[in-house]
């Protein structure tokens, strides 16, 4: 499913549908992936998110991390707060509430015929995975595909088998770095921007998609611009305190935009004035 055919918000977007966990997979010591039963008519575009809830516990926005074309709803969740810990602990068959999908999508159409640079930090790889599935499904539609992924340590690397598969079968330039490692780690150690090298992409005919902590995105954007990539060719996925997910409550207001409704994927030049402002 592409941005043009992403599922419409249901008639009452505030009313959760009840669904169940189909499968649960542990990714790292604190990250799990849940595959949910998809209610009829379910579809989504890469980059979109759902609101997942447990009665009496709470509701949180979680990005889709599965392949939009293969059906099913896949979410990768880090057990970090009360709600996400409860969600990550759900076993197959357990019920939960689902609203969505919500939000904007990664610009697949704009990527056609161009080099694509994807920069992911930590759990930020999860919202980018649907985009990667679609890019690698039709690699001839795009130029060179480069995935640069930085995370905390070798134990925190997500989707290792897929990273290897994309590297081996799709011929993509997939580089992973960690912030620190023990002596047995064979890969790069350093910040994700250290993976950027001249010649990886044509600055005049590329787009970049970035998702991760805002500090990481800020430095990544700075490096990409220094390498000649125009601001209007950079897309990022923002994270704010999303509650209603339909632009009513204002919790995720970001200047004139609502991250839940107008984002989470934004073109950088459209949010540049606000991006990185202190306490904003």
């Amino acid at each position: 499913m592409t941005e043009a055919t992403a599922r419409k918000i249901p008639p009452d977007p505030m009313l959760p549908e009840v669904t169940r966990v189909r499968r649960r997979r542990r990714e790292t010591h604190d990250v799990w992936t849940l595959a949910l039963e998809a209610p009829p008519g379910t579809g989504f575009g890469p980059g979109q998110f759902n609101m997942l809830c447990l009665p009496g516990v709470g509701e949180v926005p979680i990005s889709m991390s599965g392949d939009p074309e293969r059906g099913g709803l896949v979410h990768t969740i880090r057990a970090v707060g009360a709600v996400s810990t409860a969600l990550a602990g759900l076993k197959p068959g357990a019920q939960l509430g689902l609203r969505g999908p919500f939000g904007s999508t990664w610009p697949l159409a704009a990527a056609a015929g161009r080099d694509v640079v994807i920069m992911a930090g930590g759990l930020g790889l999860a919202p980018l995975r649907p985009l990667l599935y679609r890019l690698f499904a039709r690699p001839r539609d795009y130029g060179r595909i480069t995935l640069l992924y930085g995370t905390r340590s070798p134990d925190d690397i997500l989707f290792e088998r897929e990273l290897q598969r994309w590297r081996d079968r799709a011929g993509a330039n997939v580089l992973v770095t960690v912030d620190h490692a023990a002596g047995d780690w064979r890969g790069p150690v350093g910040v994700v921007t250290s993976l950027l090298q001249p010649g990886q992409f044509d600055p005049g005919n590329s787009i970049a998609c970035i998702c991760g902590p805002e500090v990481m995105m800020r430095f990544s954007i700075g490096n990409l611009i220094d390498m000649g990539l125009p601001a209007e060719s950079i897309y990022l996925s923002m994270e704010r305190n999303m509650k209603c997910a339909v632009g009513h409550c204002g919790h995720c207001q970001f200047g004139p935009a609502f991250v839940c409704r107008d984002g989470p994927v934004f073109r950088y030049d459209r949010v540049r004035a606000l991006f990185g402002l202190k306490e904003f």
Partner: protein, 162 residues
């Protein structure tokens, strides 16, 4: 070795130093001065290029292979804080007093590098301040870049912040 061979070897070394990405901003006559302190070196996988606490007597321009910078703490295995590859430099402590290494550097794979004699180069920088300024222009951006990267790593942006 005949004088002719030595001369050809020196010219080869000058060319390698001249073409190394780290010294692209250096003027050719400065590169020739620096190359006078240079020699080719190789390290086997697992071999240490330098050890924490040792005098910083030389630094390395990497040509092939990757190197891990490590810090050791009591009771835990060595922690890799950065990896470096071809085109990069191992060692900046040679430039500032007290000229001692502050980490270990271990070859992760077979490494080919140019070793530069630090005392020799410091001496040339002392007597030719233009060369000293040019070297600083090469190393200060590197120091800034590594400081910035270290700060980002210290922020632990991918960690839990609950």
């Amino acid at each position: 070795m005949s004088d002719d061979l030595k001369e050809r070897g020196r010219e080869g070394l000058e060319r390698i130093v001249l073409e190394h990405p780290f010294f692209t901003t250096l003027a050719e006559h400065h590169v020739r001065l620096a190359a006078g302190c240079a020699k080719n070196v190789r390290f086997r996988e697992g071999e240490y290029l330098l050890h924490e606490g040792d005098p910083a007597n030389e630094f390395y321009l990497l040509r092939e292979g990757r190197v891990a910078l490590e810090i050791n703490a009591p009771g835990r295995p060595g922690i890799i804080i950065q990896t470096l590859g071809p085109g990069e430099v191992v060692g900046v402590s040679w430039l500032v007093s007290p000229y001692r290494w502050t980490f270990d550097a271990r070859a992760l794979e077979p490494v080919r590098a140019i070793s530069l004699d630090a005392a020799c180069l410091r001496g040339k920088c002392e007597s030719d301040h233009d060369l000293g300024f040019a070297m600083m222009n090469c190393f200060v951006p590197l120091l800034t870049q590594r400081l910035q990267a270290t700060r980002l790593q210290l922020l632990d942006v991918y960690g839990r912040h609950d």
